[in-house]
């Protein structure tokens, strides 16, 4: 049981940090940005370049990778999305797919399509019957720190409050003298850096591939949907809820309970659980909305 909790926490940490960026950008720009998950991949490759290819210290590499990804996100906005502020959310969503495909192809052409691994050998640890690694602890701690920092930014600084104001009421924010484009750039930077950090942590835990966004896409969007799309910390809670659901379902030996033969839900059903939860939430929310309309 402790193992399930530990696994859930670690997996939630990997997903949450990417998911909160999507919620942040949804809250301000009102569209589901599929390119965000690809920023995570770009960030992972950047950190990998600094750490494994240039031999810089790991913490510096990760931070630099995140900051550089933030810059790339801002540049993407200036080059693409800033020109499309007026188009429909569906249009922006489709464009974000295009951006994701472009970034994936760019990463693949620079680094090749094959998988790479961060040359890290974290020490295995054991606590209360659960096995994990030093890296798991680092990932969880980094995510908590990142979420805490974002909370401070959004609720304790002027720029963060302005960002929330802009998300809640963009026209009013403009007429109050809040420079919307500068705030949007800040939002892309924060979201991009968090994606870069999340992607790096995810890649350290698993492996680097140009198409690893497809592995992250479902759980990340599921977490954001569970959390309520535009609710930044809801996305983090959504990641935790999803992760718990997934790990509980695949860890419980249903076979022994029912037939005496050991059998549990195969691990590949993780993604089905993610999609299932997402669909369920969307259906419930829709029913709720209809009920309210009546």
């Amino acid at each position: 049981m402790t193992q399930i909790l530990v696994d859930s926490l670690v997996y939630a940490a990997e997903i949450a940090i990417i998911a909160i960026g999507i919620a942040l950008s949804y809250s301000v720009l009102r569209f589901a940005n599929f390119a965000h998950v690809q920023f995570a991949v770009v960030g992972a490759y950047l950190s990998y370049t600094f750490f494994a290819l240039l031999g810089w210290p790991v913490v510096a590499s990760v931070i630099l990778g995140a900051v550089a990804t933030g810059g790339i996100a801002v540049a993407t906005d200036r080059l693409v999305f800033a020109r499309l502020r007026g188009i429909s959310p569906d249009g922006k969503m489709i464009v974000s797919w295009g951006v994701a495909l472009f970034l994936r192809a760019a990463v693949a052409s620079v680094f090749g399509g094959g998988a790479r691994v961060f040359p890290l050998q974290p020490a295995p640890l054991s606590f209360a019957g659960a096995y994990f690694t030093m890296q798991d602890v680092t990932v969880a701690a980094a995510t908590l720190l990142a979420i805490g920092a974002l909370h401070l930014l959004l609720y304790r600084t002027k720029a963060g409050t302005a960002l929330r104001a802009l998300a809640g009421n963009p026209d009013l924010a403009r007429t109050r003298g809040i420079p919307a484009e500068r705030m949007i750039a800040l939002m892309w930077f924060v979201g991009g850096s968090y994606a870069g950090l999340g992607g790096t942590l995810f890649a350290m835990q698993t492996r680097l591939q140009p198409n690893m966004d497809l592995i992250m896409l479902l759980p990340v969007f599921s977490a954001v949907t569970i959390g309520g799309l535009d609710r930044v910390f809801g996305a983090a809670l959504g990641a935790l809820a999803l992760s718990l659901a997934q790990n509980l379902l695949i860890s419980v030996d249903l076979g022994s309970l029912l037939t005496g033969q050991p059998w549990s839900v195969p691990t590949q059903f993780r993604d089905f659980i993610a999609v299932g939860t997402m669909v369920l939430i969307l259906l419930l929310r829709r029913r709720g909305a209809t009920a309210q309309a009546r």
Partner: protein, 372 residues
Amino acid sequence: MRTCPTRRIVLSMLMLTAAALPARAAEPTVPVGVIANLTGSDVPSSVDMVRGVQLAADELNAAGGVQGRKIVLITEDSEYRPQAGIEAATKLFDVNKVEAAIVFGGSSVTLPIAELARPKGKVILNTSASSAKLGGYPGTLYSTLPLDDIVGAQVGAYAAKMGVKSAAFIVPNNTFGTGLMDAAAAAFTAAGGTVVRKIAYTEGQPDYRPDLQPLQRAKPDAIISAGYGDDTRTVFKAARELGITAPWYVAYPSIFAVEDPAWLNGHMSGLDNGGLDSSTGQRIKAIYAQQFKGEPRPHYFYGYDAMMLLGRAMQKGGTDAAAIKAALPLVAKDYDGATGRIEWDDRGQRINPPMDYFAFRDGKLEPIAAPK
């Protein structure tokens, strides 16, 4: 239609070299089909296979051919695609009227060709596919390399011989993985071992810790495994992170990707297809080095043996398919091949194949002695 220019060029070149041999005289000839992927993936292995076949045909022809007729090779490209493989086989059987074809390709290519050859009564010699399903074509398909179920049984027996009492299995969830696992588990159980857990993981997952945790809870003496590429690296990483210390016994260790060599040192041993150091193997390896420079890939040896067995069967029984089928098991009995002694079961699949044993030491695979 099939109009890939590079493919056409490679194909015509190979056909020209093949046709150049009997051009000296209008002697009666025997056509033999060769299906290889000259374009598509894994071309170098395929080309080496064709070279092995060519060498055997040359040697047979130099010794007078079969039944006084020269062997003529007709090579077709399968592009490593089932559809192209079927087209190539159809052309060979219906246009060139070959009675037997030597095939290179994965199971996905070889299985449909065998399916096509069976009703036509033709003979297929398999030099590279190892799916246990290929054992389902007795009298049609004969293999010069051992199938996965045979190798799996060898791994299971090997672990038992090494004193393992309880073992857990982890393999990729595909026909290769589960076929090998089932054969290994049967052999291991037959040798007195207990299987505590069988895990087939989905390929391409980012993290296999959730898959390995049930294995860890089962506390096996050892882990028996098969797999390849990035997935195996991720499996090792997960095992290391979970603190699993049980030793690994694996099939085909050369296709595993190692994540942390220091951690795996002395932790993994396994077996791979062997016999390539036989006297014939050594001899044709030297010829290869002379002709093409460098080391031949294993398929050079499997191709050589396939052509040699086919030629001898034609010489002994006759050049029509029925005669070849009758003669193949007989000539195999006293054939000392480039891949060691070839012992066929009644399906035409190798049993007790020579195996090479390896252990992972000092960051690499090192040959070790076979267990007693």
